[in-house]
């Protein structure tokens, strides 16, 4: 049995855990103190050696990303924290910023020092006002205590941090769309290359990292590379949040070494809700192909999940029991991608629209056998044909669910209706009324 390793979450239960004083009383800013005694290049090397990989979904090695910045040319370079957490199922950065925002601020300080940035930005999604309050307060406290501003702690290093609220757009979690949004534009992805490391915010060298990635940096510096690499697997090092949601007894945030399995996590979460069994789950948010109970023992690390046909993503484990209609679930996710497609690339904009129409009629029982093939063909027309990964993500749940639950799609077509009682999936009792949500346009 793998043990949990609360690191970022270790202080969450403390009285006023979000305050500077509480943070400092529990080892806070020790990492930054240590970092200021190091050469910036050594910090980057330490993060490279730690094997820390981006915790925002893509899993790109964090230290390597920092290393891609071109040599200083005298002009500004920026750190931008992606705090636009909105991948369905993902709910780890919000509690991190709500309960321990200083882990993020300290990470921002260390990272900015390492990459030579004097202005960092934290782009928080706009739909979480109390989180925004806490992050703003933490930044202000850091200024008040000499951890931000001019000549930080007498080191001669200057850093300003701007906390920026988004305004409701999933696509702004894509790093180049986020940069456009931060520049005051519509949040639409840019063509890469050039990558942000070369031409990012205001076309200057920029590092964009997820909250959890940056918040992991202070612990790595404070405790050392060996401490971090003692957790995890051969190529997926360290700890990370596993966010369990859905039909489990005790959903929540479980911080554990990478490589833990769903079977272990489910045990910690008290198992599935009483009297029910696992049907399907996402290992890393709605953009990752779904798994079933056949994957209970798949180690949740980048390599193993990839080899099993999905992606570790954001470790957002949305867990559904046997009462859940997979066609209903996939239809709703697809409506989400249609709603959130920024419209820039035709395959994604038009493709998600058509996918929604086809799925709605299958779910409503008016689909035809040809519709299922049409779904897969439409996915083919989207996958790999757009600037960013939103379109790819939209196809994941469709292609994987058609493969794993072909009979369920066929049942909808053959029976001319959804064979499931939706009320059975809910956490409270009610009688389902005919013609409700399924037929409404999900605006």
């Amino acid at each position: 049995m793998t043990d949990l390793t609360p690191v970022l979450s270790a202080t969450w239960g403390l009285e006023r855990s979000w305050n500077f004083d509480t943070y400092c009383a529990n080892g806070g800013y020790d990492g930054a103190k240590k970092a200021f005694a190091m050469a910036p290049a050594d910090i980057i090397q330490a993060v490279k050696d730690s094997g820390l990989r981006g915790r925002g979904g893509a899993g790109f090695p964090t230290g390597m990303k920092w290393g891609f910045l071109p040599a200083p040319d005298g002009g500004p370079r920026y750190l931008v924290v992606n705090a636009d957490e909105s991948e369905p199922g993902t709910c780890k950065d919000i509690p991190t910023m709500m309960n321990a925002p200083h882990t993020l601020v300290e990470g921002v300080i260390i990272t900015s020092f390492a990459i030579g940035s004097n202005h960092a930005f934290i782009y928080v999604r706009g739909e979480v006002v109390h989180v925004y309050r806490r992050v703003m307060k933490a930044v202000q406290e850091a200024y008040d205590n000499g951890w931000l501003g001019k000549n930080i702690q007498g080191t001669g290093f200057d850093l300003d941090v701007t906390v920026h609220a988004g305004a409701g757009a999933y696509i702004c979690g894509e790093e180049t769309a986020l940069l456009d949004s931060l520049e005051g534009r519509r949040g639409q992805p840019r063509l890469k290359p050039p990558f942000p490391a070369v031409a990012g915010l205001y076309a200057r060298p920029t590092v964009v990292n997820n909250v959890e990635s940056i918040a992991s940096v202070p612990a790595i510096i404070a405790n050392g590379v060996e401490w971090f690499t003692s957790m995890g697997t051969e190529r997926s090092k360290g700890m990370g949040f596993f966010s369990l949601s859905g039909h489990v007894k005790h959903p929540g945030q479980y911080e554990a070494p990478l490589g833990i399995t769903l079977r272990e996590l489910l045990e910690m979460a008290g198992g599935m809700r009483e009297g029910h069994e696992l049907k399907f789950w996402t290992p890393g948010g709605s953009s990752t192909p779904i798994f079933t109970d056949a994957h209970l023992d798949t180690p949740l690390d980048y390599e193993s999940v990839g080899a099993a046909g999905s992606m570790l993503g954001t470790r957002a484990l949305q867990i559904f029991d046997e009462t859940t209609c997979v066609v209903r679930a996939v239809t709703r996710w697809t409506e989400f991608y249609k709603h959130e497609s920024c419209g820039k690339c035709t395959p994604c904009r038009e493709g998600t629209y058509w996918l929604t129409l086809i799925l709605r009629r299958i779910e409503a029982g008016t689909g035809t056998p040809a519709d299922i093939q049409q779904l897969l063909d439409t996915c083919d027309s989207i996958l790999g044909r757009a600037f960013c990964a939103l379109g790819d993500g939209a196809t994941s749940c469709i292609t994987s669910s058609v493969k794993l639950f072909a009979q369920e799609y066929a049942d909808h077509v053959e029976q001319g209706r959804c064979p499931f009682d939706h009320a059975a999936s809910a956490l409270f009792d009610y009688d389902e009324k005919p013609s409700t949500a399924a037929e409404e346009a999900h605006a």
Partner: protein, 264 residues
């Protein structure tokens, strides 16, 4: 421009403060749109003109941005934006039924506002509270583990002119306009208000310390029952375990150093 002189002067001052946060002024457009929303309750034609004037943009350029983001409202919004998550996980776990009951009860549909201007209903996409599904948001504060009855009770309190209290967040929900001002980057000094971290938030930390909760699960903070008056919500697991744990205890299973932070 129909802002009165005093309002306009204040807006200009706030807009200048926003632009000063960024190396390039245009980066201030998103917060500036939140700012005009905090005055008008939506992004009005005046608000668009104001932003365009401040940033030397055309009104078309500002509109193009404002219409991209769902939090910018194009019609006068209710004092309370009540959103029910109907993305897959919340929908399956009851969000669809909560939405149906709420919409029926309030009498308006998606993105519509009650006649008294109190409530605008919205179907939300994932709001990153999945471990508390089904989730409802009121002016972007969390109302976790919803049921139709609880959702209706909250809405009734709003309609009765009472303050409502989130499950994670501030002590009361601020108005739509006041919330917009915070999102524009102007603090309201309420960061220390707290309802507890939340049971799901602490699930892993608690397991690392104590293992699984005893069955049947202990009632959440029964000692606090005397302090809470609202009857319809008493059964819900609102309060997290008291914030008393020590981090070293919390991290007993983490590799040395035990706290996970530099405490060697």
């Amino acid at each position: 421009m129909t802002y009165d002189d005093a309002t306009h002067a204040k807006l200009v001052k706030d807009a200048a403060a926003i632009m000063a946060r960024y190396p390039v002024a245009r980066s201030g457009l998103l917060p500036m749109l939140h700012l005009v929303q905090s005055i008008d309750g939506h992004v009005s034609p005046d608000g668009i003109q104001f932003c365009a004037d401040q940033l030397d943009l055309t009104t078309a350029e500002v509109s193009a941005v404002a219409t991209f983001y769902t939090q910018y409202k194009r019609r006068p919004n209710g004092t309370y934006q009540v959103g029910v998550c109907t993305n897959t996980l919340c929908a399956v776990m009851g969000g669809d039924e909560i939405w149906r009951r709420l919409s029926e009860h309030v009498g308006v549909g998606n993105d519509e506002t009650t006649e008294d201007g109190l409530i605008t209903l919205e179907k939300l996409e994932c709001n990153a509270g999945c471990d508390y599904a089904p989730v409802m948001m009121v002016n972007w504060e969390f109302f976790d583990n919803m049921t139709p009855d609880r959702a209706l009770a909250i809405v009734d309190e709003i309609l009765a002119g009472k303050d409502v209290k989130p499950t994670r967040g501030a002590d009361t929900v601020a108005t739509f306009k006041d919330t917009s001002r915070v999102l524009a980057g102007f603090t309201d000094g309420r960061a220390d208000e707290d309802q507890g971290a939340g049971i799901a938030t602490l699930a892993g930390v608690e397991f690392a310390k104590h293992g699984l909760p005893q069955e049947p699960a202990p009632k959440a903070a029964p000692a606090k029952a005397a302090a809470t008056k609202a009857a319809p919500r008493k059964a819900a697991p609102r309060k997290a375990a008291p914030r008393k744990a020590t981090p070293s205890a919390a991290a007993k299973s983490a590799p040395a150093p035990k706290t996970g932070r530099g405490k060697e």
